[in-house]
């Protein structure tokens, strides 16, 4: 196993949880998340095989995954996007070995999905995934500044949003 392979597999292992969570957040399906993350890894490896250089593997994974998720949306659009998202809110997925905190986690994700779409992604990336502004800029192809502004506004929106929906 040469250096590149070792580094790559280590990165795969390291980022798996985060990528999976991110994908689940966007697609609301464990199966899709699993498939898409796997697909991401394979695509990234094929890219490397062409002799291309990847500066930041983490950001690269997210970019591929993002594209795959968009493709996934498009594929299902023929069925109905609403139906898909509704299905996502339905917790009746067959997962027997799920545990308490897992349920908490899923519930939290679903609540987070109520954040207006514009800010949902950046807030999730910034706080749950704990990506740096620079990494987010790399992934989303926007300037760091723009993302910082977005996160800031998103936080304000969220404040209003949660204050309205919750006790207060």
């Amino acid at each position: 196993m040469n250096n590149t392979e070792r580094k790559f597999t280590e990165a795969c292992e390291e980022h798996f949880d985060a990528l999976y969570r991110y994908c689940f957040f966007k697609t609301s399906s464990r199966d899709t998340a699993q498939d898409l993350v796997q697909e991401t890894y394979l695509k990234a490896w094929n890219y490397l095989m062409k002799g291309e250089e990847i500066k930041n593997l983490k950001a690269f994974f997210y970019r591929i995954l993002n594209n795959l998720i968009i493709d996934e949306y498009r594929k299902k659009k023929t069925v109905s996007l609403d139906l898909l998202s509704e299905k996502g809110f339905d917790p009746g997925v067959n997962e027997t070995e799920r545990m308490e905190n897992q349920i908490d986690g899923e519930r939290a994700m679903k609540l987070l999905k109520k954040i207006p779409e514009m800010y949902r992604e950046v807030i999730f990336m910034r706080y749950v995934q704990e990506l740096s502004l620079k990494e987010m800029a790399d992934i989303l192809d926007q300037s760091e500044n723009a993302i910082a502004v977005k996160v800031h506004r998103g936080l304000k929106k969220v404040e209003k949003f949660f204050n309205n929906s919750r006790t207060k």
Binding site: Y20, E53, D104, F124, Y127, V158
Partner: protein, 335 residues
């Protein structure tokens, strides 16, 4: 994260919950396994074997260890949570211990080195730690000074330290056999460095700084004037030059001229800059007066002190020669 909690508790708790969402070990392993299989089936082309395709983001070894340790611990915990069986990952325990022990070892080493350095600072010639003091502590000190001014100051300080040590030795009563020679050489070295650096300062047009250093140096010499004397009257001093008997009176007149070195230095510094091929003449003229004014007044006190390390006429000549050789080197560095 803290900031977020302050801003919005609700969101913070959601974020915390969301972070606890992760795939089951089975899912993770099945994906990773198929990826590994894919990599094995499609290895990189041979020509890319040595290529660095993934950038050069090197983790420091310690950070790598920390990362490994925590990742393995998380894995173990998750495994326990899902299956209920406690698996001992030997490696993880090893790493966790390692990352705890390494800082302790480093700290202990630092403390040891620091303690030695502190202890060494009080060492006198002949002491066990004295070589550490001159060889390590002072070398680090002079390396840590970057500007010529600072370096000149440091060397002046070290030269005067040698004098202080000579005095301390004489108070102690017993003088180790080599001490005198060691102190003498070391003093000459530092004095020459200091003088040479002052000269360099002059040539760079930093007259003011040069004068400050010179004054400082003189002041240091004066502090220890009781030890500074000419070894002209005692035959038993091995370093004594027979000619110094004659030269001592000549130097006696120096105290009256104590204000001249600065002036003469100013006058000659231009020459030094112009004819680089012949640095000896201005160099020796400038630097020679710098020591005698301070050393000569101590002549009377000389007899009462058993260790007079410096400087007799011969030593002064040696210092000058050293200054010149250093100056030559410095000049090479400047050009």
């Amino acid at each position: 994260m803290k900031k977020l909690i302050k801003q919005n508790k609700e969101l913070a708790s959601l974020v915390k919950d969301a972070k606890s969402f992760y795939p089951t070990v089975n899912v993770k392993h099945s994906v990773l396994r198929s990826v590994f299989r894919h990599i094995k089936a499609n290895p990189l082309p041979e020509k890319l074997d040595g290529a660095n395709l993934l950038g050069t983001s090197m983790l420091s070894p310690y950070r790598y260890l920390v990362k490994q340790a925590f990742r393995m611990r998380a894995e173990r915990k998750r495994h326990f949570a899902e299956t209920g069986e406690e698996v001992l990952f030997r490696k993880s325990v090893f790493y966790l211990r390692l990352i705890r022990i390494i800082p302790v070892i480093i700290l202990a080493m630092l403390l040891l080195a620091g303690g030695t350095a502190m202890a060494a600072n009080a060492a006198l010639p002949g002491d066990f730690l004295y070589p550490y003091k001159t060889g390590v502590n002072e070398r680090i000190g002079s390396l840590a000074a970057f500007t010529p001014e600072a370096r000149a100051m440091v060397h002046a300080k070290y030269a005067s330290r040698r004098l202080a040590e000579a005095r301390a030795l004489s108070f102690r009563g017993e003088i180790p056999p080599n001490a005198q020679a060691v102190l003498n050489t070391n003093f000459k070295f530092h004095a020459a460095k200091a003088l040479a650096l002052t000269e360099v300062l002059r040539q760079k047009g930093k007259e003011k700084e040069a004068e400050i250093v010179e004054k400082e140096f003189e002041a240091e010499m004066l502090t220890h004037k009781s030890i500074v004397g000419f070894d002209d009257d005692e035959g038993d001093d091995s370093l004594t030059d027979p000619s110094s008997n004659n030269s001592a009176p000549a130097n006696n007149s120096a105290p009256g001229n104590s204000s001249t070195p600065g002036n003469s230095g100013k006058g000659k510094s231009d020459d030094g800059g112009q004819n680089k091929s012949k640095p000896d003449a201005p160099g020796s003229d400038n630097t020679r007066p710098a020591t005698p004014p301070s050393t000569a007044p101590a002549l009377e006190a000389a007899n009462s002190v058993p260790t007079k390390i410096i400087p007799n006429k011969k030593d002064l000549a040696e210092i000058n020669a050293l200054v010149n050789s250093i100056l030559k080197r410095e000049r090479l560095n400047i050009d």
